[in-house]
Symmetry: C2
Subunit: 207 residues, 2 copies
């Protein structure tokens, strides 16, 4: 879950490379939580430092490339979190289970945040113009599509169709998450989920 | 088209209420262009003044409610621009034509901006938390869904299914626009369009 409780207490092991990793990871997790609520421009290094409880100077040490580097690593981190949620669903060997796991993950994120939080990768994509951020976002979306497409192929859907349906599903779910934030309810995700399930079922059964 | 050339020359009629309206509209059009590229937090009043060529003080005169008021009116304006594009397509009485018009409009916007521009309403929704902005965005998405749902009903799709498919289509197109910005190509819109066309066709033919 991306909605981890970011620990604010001082790391008892202070100063080792182990701690360094932990403090770095904490900053990335904080950045994901802040970007997905307040956007890329709306989140500063200062906010990430405060949220993560990390020592002020350490953010420059860990991210010498500045906010773009932090954003790029946040994209990779968030890509992995969502990919894991899809993979856990796909482990049942059923594309519908993978889809339902994705939808359940997003519903939980929206409700837990009172509709303040969406996808940090979307937030970065819609306002950052650094080429390395677009490339990382592109890879992130492709990772999710790949897991869904594999689940569809495992369910008997021909490869080209599986790839197109995965693209449709990821796009529709991302769009529905935004729609749910505007509406402050999960109706759009529920409706999109219902239609996607029917489409996946039809494709699996040779439709 | 939202990619209007924002006039920078001084209005020859200077000072009349007509000019006031024009200068106001110019600021809203500029805000739409800036929000959709750089986001809500990434766009300041100063940027809107510079882009629109409006007198500096006039933005406070026209938008005494500040950036939130400007954003709210920008949402209404952008909602109308996209709604018109969908309606022009729907005028042929065919839901597929309405869908194709929507896709063509977004493809043109992405390509013309070299993939820098997306949807200003999405940009505002993913990082602004003012309730009036969520409400306006909700109404905007609902307007587009309503036009698409009407086209589907005109094509013989039962009302409840037409509403769900319209929600799916708007969400999928918005998600695909973001995906295209990350990938810097229109493949996602093409694939999503192909699947949505098949789904619309199936629903129209009783599928």
């Amino acid at each position: 879950m991306m909605s981890v409780i970011v620990r604010k207490e001082t790391d008892p092991a202070g100063g080792t490379s182990e701690t360094s990793g932990t403090s770095r990871e904490r900053m990335i997790a904080s950045a994901a939580l802040l970007f997905r609520e307040n956007g890329y421009s709306g989140t500063g290094f200062r906010d990430v430092v405060t949220h993560s409880g990390a020592p002020r100077g350490s953010i420059y040490h860990h991210f010498p490339g500045g906010k773009a580097q932090l954003a790029q690593e946040t994209i990779d981190y968030a890509a992995g979190v969502v990919e894991s949620a899809i993979e856990r669903g796909a482990a049942a060997g059923d594309p519908l289970a993978a889809l339902r796991a994705t939808l359940a993950w997003w519903r939980a994120t929206l409700v837990a945040s009172d509709y303040r939080a969406g996808c940090p990768i979307v937030a970065i994509t819609v306002e950052a113009h650094e080429p390395e951020l677009s490339e990382s976002a592109d890879l992130a979306f492709a990772r999710w599509e790949r897991v869904l497409a594999a689940a569809l192929r495992d369910g008997g859907v021909p490869p080209a169709r599986a790839a197109r349906l995965a693209t449709l599903a990821v796009a529709a779910v991302e769009g529905a998450v935004i729609r749910c934030r505007a509406a402050r309810d999960t109706a759009a995700l529920d409706e999109v989920g219902r239609e996607l399930e029917a489409i996946f079922r039809g494709a699996r059964d040779g439709g």
